[in-house]
C-alpha cells in the first residue's frame, strides 16, 4: 500500500505540473513581452549578454518547448541518446531561428505554435507506441530534427515581432541563440534529474502511460488554442 500511496502522489505531482503548464498562460502563445520587448526595441548595436539572457529566459519559461523535450527524453535512458536527440533538436531550431530572422521569413506565429502543440502530441503518441501499433515506422531522429525546425520558426516569429534593429542584428541573434541553448541545457538537466528519480520507482511504467496521456492532451490544447487564435485574431 505504501508503494501505491507514494506512486499515487508521484502521479498527482506529474499531473499537476502538466495541468499547470496547460492552464497557466494560455492565449498569446508565449511571446517576449513587457519590459523585455521594450528593451529589444530600444537596442541599437551588439548587446550580447542581455540577448543571451532573453534567449535563456524564453526557453526556460517556454512550456511548449519544454513539454516537447520532456516527451523526447521520456524513454531515453542512455546519456548518449539524450545528447543525440537534444543535439538534433538544437540543430533544427537553431537553423530556422537564424534563417527565419535573417531572411525575414514571415510565418503566422499562431500556425507555428499550433504545429509545436502537434509536436507535443506526436511525441506522446509515439511514446505510447501508437505508431508501432499502426504499423507505421518513422525515424525518430528525423521527427525530432524536423520538429526542431518548426520550434526554431516559433522562436524566430517571437523575435521578429519585436522589430530588431539591423545594427548588430547578427551578433544579437547569435547571442539569443546561444542563450536558448543554455536555457535548454538548464531546463533539460532539471527534467532529466526528475525523470531519472522517477524511473527508479516501481510504479514508473504504470504512470508513464498516464503521463504520456496528459502530454498528448497538453499538445491538443496548445494546438487548439493557437488554431483558435489564428482563425479569430488572424495573422499573428
Amino acid at each position: 500500500m505504501d508503494a501505491g500511496n507514494s506512486s499515487t502522489r508521484t502521479l498527482w505531482i506529474a499531473a499537476a505540473a502538466i495541468a499547470a503548464a496547460i492552464l497557466a498562460p494560455a492565449a498569446y502563445a508565449h511571446a517576449i513581452g513587457g519590459k523585455d520587448a521594450a528593451f529589444v526595441a530600444a537596442t541599437v548595436g551588439p548587446d550580447p549578454l542581455p540577448f543571451m539572457y532573453l534567449g535563456a529566459k524564453h526557453m526556460v519559461t517556454g512550456y511548449d518547448h519544454l513539454l516537447f523535450l520532456l516527451g523526447v527524453i521520456f524513454f531515453l535512458y542512455r546519456l548518449k541518446d539524450v545528447l543525440l536527440y537534444v543535439s538534433l533538436f538544437s540543430l533544427g531550431h537553431s537553423t530556422t531561428l537564424l534563417i527565419g530572422v535573417l531572411a525575414d521569413i514571415n510565418v503566422s506565429s499562431f500556425l507555428v505554435d499550433a504545429v509545436i502543440g502537434v509536436s507535443v502530441s506526436y511525441k506522446a503518441f509515439e511514446n505510447l507506441g501508437g505508431f508501432r501499433r499502426m504499423g507505421v515506422s518513422i525515424d525518430n531522429r528525423l521527427a525530432v530534427g524536423g520538429f526542431g525546425l518548426i520550434h526554431g520558426f516559433g522562436l524566430a516569429t517571437k523575435l521578429q515581432d519585436l522589430e530588431l534593429n539591423p545594427n548588430g542584428l547578427v551578433e544579437n541573434l547569435l547571442a539569443f541563440n546561444v542563450g536558448v541553448e543554455i536555457g535548454q541545457l538548464i531546463a533539460l538537466s532539471l527534467i532529466l534529474a526528475v525523470m531519472t528519480l522517477w524511473r527508479t520507482t516501481r510504479s514508473f511504467p504504470r504512470f508513464a502511460i498516464a503521463a504520456n496521456a496528459l502530454l498528448f492532451l497538453a499538445g491538443v490544447v496548445l494546438a487548439g488554442q493557437q488554431l483558435a487564435g489564428f482563425f479569430i485574431v488572424g495573422e499573428g
Partner: protein
C-alpha cells in the same frame, strides 16, 4: 526489436489498442472541450458552447487597452443634432464589506458632446454621507473583438460630492466608478444635463441595470419648475 540497423531505437510503451484509442480519443475530446469551453471564452471573447458564460470564465476577457492622451485640440463649439436632456439617477452602493459596494455608471457620448454633472453621496434616509466615496471618472470606447480599447482617465479621488463639466473626447461610454467605504449602504444621487444618451440596462456602462429617476412624476415637475 525488429527495427532496421539505421533506426535508433527508443523504448516505448506497449499499450493495448483499446487503451491507446481511449487515450487519443479522450485527449482529443478533452482538449477540444478545454479550448472551446475555457480558452476561447477567456481569451477571445467567443463562447461556442456557452460554458464561458456558465462558469464565469467569459468575464476574464478584456480588450487590450490604449490610453487616450489629451492634446489634439477639439472645437470649442459643437452644434448638437440631438436635443439636450436632463437625467437624475440614484446609484445604490452596498456597505463597504459587500461586493455591491462598488459599481460603475456611464453615459454614451459622441466626441464633442458635453454634459454638466453634479453628484452627492446620501445615506438611505437622505442625509449626507460623512465617509468620502472613492470615485474614478473615466471613459472608454466600446471595442469590437480584436480591436484595442481606448481609455481616457479624467480624474479620480475621494469626495462626498462633486460637480463639473465633461466634453467627450471620443465616441464611447463616459462616467464613474464609485466605491463606498462606509459601513452602511448609501446611494449616489447624480444629476446630469446636456448632450448624451442613456445606456440601456444590462449594456456596457450600465451593467447594474440602474433606472433613472427622471421621467417619474416628481421629476417632471422638477424639470418644469427648472424651465420657468
Amino acid at each position: 526489436m525488429s527495427e532496421d540497423a539505421s533506426y535508433v531505437p527508443t523504448a516505448q510503451l506497449n499499450v493495448k489498442p483499446k487503451t491507446l484509442l481511449l487515450i487519443t480519443g479522450g485527449g482529443l475530446a478533452a482538449g477540444t472541450l478545454i479550448v472551446l469551453g475555457a480558452i476561447m471564452p477567456a481569451e477571445y471573447n467567443l463562447d461556442p458552447l456557452g460554458l464561458g458564460e456558465l462558469s464565469g470564465l467569459a468575464r476574464l476577457w478584456a480588450p487590450e487597452e490604449k490610453t487616450w492622451q489629451p492634446g489634439a485640440g477639439m472645437d470649442p463649439a459643437h452644434s448638437s443634432n440631438i436635443p439636450s436632456a436632463r437625467t437624475v439617477v440614484e446609484i445604490p452602493l452596498g456597505a463597504s464589506d459587500w461586493p455591491e459596494a462598488a459599481l460603475e455608471y456611464k453615459f454614451a457620448m459622441k466626441p464633442g458632446q458635453t454634459l454638466l454633472y453634479k453628484w452627492q453621496a446620501l445615506n438611505e434616509d437622505g442625509s449626507p454621507v460623512t465617509v468620502p466615496v472613492e470615485f474614478d471618472f473615466h471613459g472608454h470606447t466600446l471595442a469590437k473583438d480584436g480591436e484595442e480599447m481606448t481609455v481616457a482617465n479624467y480624474y479620480k479621488s475621494e469626495a462626498l460630492a462633486d460637480e463639473g463639466a465633461l466634453m467627450a473626447p471620443f465616441d464611447g461610454i463616459h462616467g464613474w466608478y464609485f466605491k463606498n467605504h462606509a459601513p452602511d449602504p448609501i446611494r449616489i444621487r447624480l444629476e446630469v444635463e446636456g448632450y448624451y444618451e442613456l445606456v440601456p440596462p444590462g449594456q456596457p456602462g450600465n451593467e447594474f441595470r440602474i433606472q433613472p429617476l427622471s421621467g417619474q412624476p416628481e421629476d417632471q415637475a422638477l424639470e418644469e419648475n427648472d424651465g420657468q
